[in-house]
């Protein structure tokens, strides 16, 4: 396989954070040097993948959707198992939300590195953040640093993991998205854990998103979209 012209690969979920990161990467590496990778891992709501496809197309970046059927086979989590209800709190024993797939971001980034390897792409971009930390230890800076070293050693390649939102609050991320020109794209993102459009506004993900826009003093273009054009 010939090396591509792309320099950076963005892990694009179709959510607000990874979409903002896509525009960060376009700003950082330039239009034509960025690709997007979306995982079809059996998420409860296919709408996330549809959003990611729409967002990549709008941004004009090549996109690949890679399947992972392993999480569903692992089972036992609310993120992919439709038989398990999403809970708002954390598990008393593990202190983790029941949408936790252990090491999910480690898997995503390692597969992203495997995808990047033959394409000679040396920069991975992920939207994880430890500021609005939901109890996911694979979103922490220390974890990403260890993973970066692991990938460099395990693939014998020069690879950098960028997490531009790592230390930003949701409000700061909202302002960053606006400044990077990601605003129209945010209307195409998906956040709601219940998979609803318009978003339910009540699940932990919707609440966290609304809080960020409120603190930034800006209206969420996703919410505005449904208010201005009734479905």
């Amino acid at each position: 396989m010939q090396p591509s012209v792309s320099q950076a690969l963005v892990v694009l979920s179709g959510g607000q954070d990874s979409t903002t990161c896509l525009y960060w990467a376009l700003d950082q590496f330039g239009v034509g040097a960025v690709e997007a990778l979306t995982f079809d891992y059996g998420q409860r709501h296919r709408i996330e993948i549809d959003c990611a496809i729409k967002i990549a197309a709008r941004a004009g970046v090549p996109q690949t959707v890679l399947p992972i059927n392993t999480f569903t086979a692992l089972g036992g989590n609310a993120l992919t198992d439709a038989g398990i209800a999403v809970q708002s709190g954390v598990d008393a024993q593990t202190q983790l939300p029941n949408t936790f797939v252990p090491g999910r971001n480690l898997i995503f980034l390692t597969l992203a590195a495997a995808f990047a390897y033959p394409r000679a792409i040396h920069h991975l971009v992920t939207g994880v953040a430890q500021t609005d930390y939901s109890g996911y230890p694979d979103c922490r800076q220390a974890t990403l640093q260890a993973l970066e070293q692991t990938l460099q050693l395990g693939m014998a390649c020069d690879l950098t993991i960028h997490a531009p939102l790592m230390f930003k609050s949701k409000a700061e991320t909202v302002l960053m998205a606006r400044d990077l020109g990601a605003w129209p794209a945010l209307a195409d993102t998906h956040t709601c854990y219940h998979g609803q459009q318009p978003p339910c506004g009540e699940c932990p993900a919707c609440v966290l998103r609304a809080k960020g826009f409120a603190e930034a003093g800006l209206a969420d273009p996703l919410v505005a979209r449904f208010h201005s054009s009734p479905s």
Copy 2:
């Protein structure tokens, strides 16, 4: 999910090394404290999985076969892509064999950790070795150490990766298998890159295996099986 009684999870491919490690784990952690995890990742030869199932059953350990459809989707390697011939040498550009799936063992071990997590299993056992290093950087000790740290941080858990063959030659592994009582099980293992039974004896994997038994001064029970009972 209730914690299992297992203490150790062996990544069992159905090959000689992981089978030896299964018996190492039984010796180390005790019968009844060991489970096996086998990945169905679209390997060219399903016989590997059949061997792993037979080996786990013979050893009396619970086994799970987890699917990974991502490697096939990534494509471009001889290990899963039937359209690409296995080459004996290394690629001039990458200096890696064309059976190389970048970071394959990183993926296997991370998914093994995700499998182990809800079962409260804290020991992962892998048959990788850097001695008979085939150009796979994800088989090196330094890589496993970095990965262990990544998994500990990323899953916020106490986890140890054991690679009992890391610094052993193939001959030493053969002697270890004999001493651990793995000898009958070795007759059920699969090594041949061409998926042949009896083994082709000519592919790099067969040649490496034969060299180990020759240096140990012992006959390979897999080869003996076909000589004593013509198929």
